[in-house]
């Protein structure tokens, strides 16, 4: 197990390095300097600005200097917001995005796996068709459509919940969390249904039933462990998708989270901010993928074996 974790961690390092390198040079390759769109400034000011942002150095030196700073946890100053560092901006938006993602993931896991398991218990009956049809709607209805629709119905027509913001009025966290979580709940429902169906036909469950265990023990103690495996391995990619999904949800509900900062940075051509956020989010995603792999391997020894081979 430790060998697996060690190897898997070693593998993550080149990925993160590749992300940093590719992003750095892509951003540097972008046409137009960060200040070229501003009003004309005197050459001295221009030079001072470039020195401040290290743009006067050759690209390779800029890159190594950036790596050194990054290792110290410093992502440099923002191009767009003078006097503010990228670290500061990320730390400001991160807690909000994390909270939103956490609620959404919670909704996705609970609603998704419960409806998937319920559906799998009586396949091809109404108990199966109804949750699975709803899941299909969840998959086909993009968050940027679901969010506004929920706002229109619960925020405007029924006037039950606030339509935007985060933590400013009671209940304003409900709609964004549901909007973000819905699609993943749908995926998880489908994954857990198929996972459970596959496990249900296996011999060890027949044994469990044959020795007279009550059905709920069979399902909770024996079937779930195997049946939920696809869901566990989906959680890593789901986390990545949740982060990018939060871009839309934060835009729709005007939530000042990391996703909204990223989109704004994209529009403002705030290159250091784009670079910093990309590196930060990618690292987060790689780490989360790693964790989900480790949990999956812990639950399923076969995966460990395959990898060590």
């Amino acid at each position: 197990m430790w060998r697996f974790i060690g190897l898997r961690c070693l593998q993550a390092i080149p990925v993160i390095l590749a992300v940093i390198t590719v992003t750095f040079f892509l951003v540097r390759a972008a046409p137009g300097g960060p200040f070229s769109s501003e009003k004309a400034v005197s050459p001295q000011v221009q030079a001072a600005l470039e020195a401040q942002y290290r743009l006067d150095l050759p690209p390779l030196q800029q890159y190594t200097a950036y790596l050194v700073d990054l290792a110290k946890g410093d992502m440099g100053p923002s191009f767009y917001y003078p006097g503010r560092s990228v670290d500061e901006l990320i730390l400001q938006g991160l807690p909000i995005t994390m909270e939103l993602g956490f609620y959404a993931l919670l909704i996705a896991i609970f609603v998704g796996s419960i409806s998937g398991v319920v559906a799998s218990l009586k396949p091809n009956t109404l108990q199966d068709y109804i949750p699975m049809s709803i899941a299909m709607v969840g998959i086909c209805m993009p968050s940027f459509l679901l969010g506004p629709t929920l706002v229109l119905v619960f925020g405007i027509l029924l006037d039950w919940l606030p339509v935007s913001g985060w933590g400013n009025s009671s209940g304003d966290k409900i709609l964004p969390s549901i909007t973000l979580g819905a699609m993943y709940a749908a995926y998880i429902a489908r994954l857990s249904r198929s996972g459970m169906l596959e496990v249900m036909s296996q011999d060890y469950l027949r044994t469990a039933r044959a020795k007279g265990l009550p059905e709920y023990v069979v399902i909770i103690k024996h079937a779930l462990r195997g049946g939920m495996l696809p869901v566990i391995s989906y959680l890593g990619p789901a986390f990545a998708a949740l982060l990018s999904g939060s871009f839309v949800v934060e835009t729709v509900f005007q939530i000042p989270g990391l996703g909204r900062f990223y989109i704004q940075a994209a529009f403002n051509r705030d290159y250091t901010m784009i670079l910093g956020t990309t590196v930060f989010l990618s690292t987060l995603i790689v780490v989360f993928n790693l964790l989900s792999d480790i949990v999956a391997a812990w639950l399923n020894p076969r995966l460990r074996y395959q990898f060590n081979k």
């Binding site: 590749a18 390759a29 940027f144 249904r193 990545a240 835009t251």
Partner: protein
């Protein structure tokens, strides 16, 4: 010599059986949801293809006096704030959305099939290296990278196709590689090798045609993903740019004015959702028909 004749004679004697494809077609026809999906898609595609000839109004035809009016006899789906006919705009938007869906999927298809086939055929270290690369790319947050590409290189349609296609090929490569790897062990491939066929000829003529089932299934399921991705980017203002239009863009306009004019959100939203529905149902049906072993997830 005589044995060859015998085999030929034997071949002629066998009545023509149903091929794999005919079998699959029969299974697909039985799946009602898939057939409804297919029918809906054909209607939408024909409408979008013929848009310039059948659209009731001009694409940029404004009627400011009208403003935004709800659906009526003259304007079946209402008009937007500039008095432009929504049905016309949705049809034109559909052209772009579907085009992106098909072309980006084609890009993914070409890259994925080529890459997967080479890795699967080569096997050994080449295969291990190529697939590890896919694993690594798979772990990257591509949404973020597409946004980055859009920012760095400007927002043009061609780049959008390439960027989305370049993201979606990974799973395709895995599927094709797994197929080719198992097919490679079969005797007919050994026979082809001993006959002196080049690897390229074997892959193209003998291996890929036999791996087509899963590829078709996955292609059908990739198109809705790609369309969703395009709509997502357009919604954020990073995809299709006006005066071009797409369903994602129409939805983002609809959201701005949904309190007063909900039909500006509802109709493009319905167009996108129903199309995605149809594609997913068709994809599920094709999977059941062509690849009965694959689990339904």
């Amino acid at each position: 010599m005589s044995s060859k004749i015998d085999i030929l004679a034997l071949d002629d004697g066998i009545p023509k059986g149903t091929s794999l494809w005919e079998d699959a077609l029969v299974r697909l026809r039985k799946n009602k949801l898939s057939m409804i999906g297919l029918g809906f898609l054909i209607v939408i595609m024909v409408l979008c293809l013929l848009t310039p000839w059948i659209a009731p109004y001009g694409y940029e035809e404004q009627n400011l006096r009208l403003g935004a009016i709800p659906p009526s006899a003259e304007h079946w789906l209402g008009t937007d704030t500039f008095g432009r006919d929504m049905l016309t705009r949705i049809l034109y938007g559909g052209r772009v959305s579907l085009l992106v869906g098909f072309i980006a999927t084609a890009v993914a298809l070409v890259i994925g099939v080529t890459y997967g086939a080479i890795a699967g055929y080569a096997g050994g270290k080449t295969d291990a290296f190529m697939m590890r690369l896919v694993d690594i790319l798979y772990a990257l947050p591509f949404m973020i990278f597409i946004i980055l590409l859009m920012v760095v290189f400007g927002r043009n349609l061609l780049l959008l196709f390439l960027a989305i296609g370049a993201v979606e090929w990974l799973v395709m490569a895995r599927i094709v590689r797994a197929q080719i790897q198992s097919l490679r062990q079969q005797e007919y491939v050994e026979a082809a090798i001993s006959l002196g066929l080049s690897p390229a000829a074997i892959i193209i003529k003998h291996l890929i045609p036999n791996a087509l089932g899963p590829v078709i299934v996955y292609t059908t399921l990739t198109i809705p993903n790609v369309m969703l991705l395009e709509a997502f980017l357009s919604f954020l203002g990073l995809g299709i740019q006006p005066p071009e239009s797409s369903w994602g863009l129409l939805i983002s306009y609809g959201v701005e004015t949904m309190e007063e004019y909900p039909w500006l959100l509802i109709f493009p939203g319905l167009a996108l959702t129903l199309t995605l529905f149809a594609l997913n149902f068709l994809g599920d049906g094709l999977r059941d028909a062509l690849d009965p072993k694959a689990s339904k997830d």
